[in-house]
Symmetry: C3
């Protein structure tokens, strides 16, 4: 739970940080982690605030897109593999240059906000850990910064 700081008659809550561990099962895989992140929001006790997401890897990132029809994630994966093939004329000797490039395009962070204790996602949005060099056990870091309480004092 968020720890609180008392000021006058109100409490200011500090931030809340949690690292989630996510296992993937394919080389290129968008894994829906919305439920895990919402569980973290619940655990934090935050009602209104900002939820920062951060992936501390260089061959996996985070993105937000449709989670309802799994064909969408499939098409995103396949198109990235078509544009940036696994095998190619790359300088990096570890055989995963494509994974680094895909991660650079998708990005390592996202910022969502929290309203009434819920991730304020759109109707069709899910949050995905995007692994481009799986299968692996990945970290997704969550930092929740509660809003200052608005008041009419």
């Amino acid at each position: 739970m968020l720890e609180a700081m008392k000021t006058g008659s109100r409490r200011l809550a500090g931030s809340f940080t949690r690292t989630l561990f996510i296992s993937t099962s394919r080389r290129t895989e968008l894994k829906d982690v919305t439920a895990e992140i919402q569980a973290t929001v619940n655990e934090s006790g935050c009602s209104e605030g900002v939820c920062h997401l951060y992936v501390p890897h260089t061959t996996a990132g985070v993105l937000i897109n449709e989670g309802d029809d799994p064909a969408v994630a499939h098409d995103i994966e396949a198109t990235l593999d078509r544009l940036i093939p696994h095998r190619g004329d790359y300088a990096h000797a570890e055989g995963n240059s494509d994974s680094h490039i895909k991660t650079s395009l998708i990005g390592s962070s996202e910022t969502v906000w929290i309203e009434n204790g819920q991730l304020a996602l759109g109707r069709w949005q899910s949050i995905f850990l995007a692994d481009f060099d799986g299968p692996r056990r990945r970290e997704l870091r969550v930092k929740i910064v509660p809003d200052l309480p608005a008041s009419s004092c």
Copy 2:
């Protein structure tokens, strides 16, 4: 206006959230929404802080680039359509897989900051709602988090 919280002799301002509604007129369209967002900053009364932008859709995102010469937005639109064609070998049956993929690449959020009541954009920067499955009426959410006041007390 931002509501304030009194603490000692100073006031802490809470956050300010607003949803903007943006209409697009083409399938792939970068629409300059800088003026609408600045108007929201004005309405908030925030002088110094962070402005989070969020698009709650899965076929539209938000990006920052040149707004002075409309040819730049045209070239961004055309290049995305070339790299990720509307028609292709996609699994998702709704005919807009390309829109989901473009949105994943452009991203759903941006974070800008506010200085002296103005969006602290670069000289040539504008903020665009990037619709990839228009024409539609889209939402762009704005959340303004004022800085805590610095003081020498």
Copy 3:
């Protein structure tokens, strides 16, 4: 150093903003700026908080990826140049449409957080100013927002 605001028996620190100037030497260049940003965190005196990064240009952005083997940055640069060639059928007359498009894909902002006074990057992560129309002298803006202190009061 962050200026503090006293409230009850605790101090709230305001935010800290700094503009870094980064010189690049090639047209497409990922330049590692991690050390400069860490130095800014040190200067701020922030121990726990959020570090927002922002590039106020339309032909340069910011990304996070591997800094250990320079071949990775090379492969990211070369692949972006392959997908979005310098010369092409572009409408913008200044000859740098590719630079604007690459910047749109990579993005203008990143959000990292600060733990124990250090940028909380992953083991292999570095932060790069990504210039797509160099060589130039570029700005990278850093805004540090300290967490509210958690307490058990």
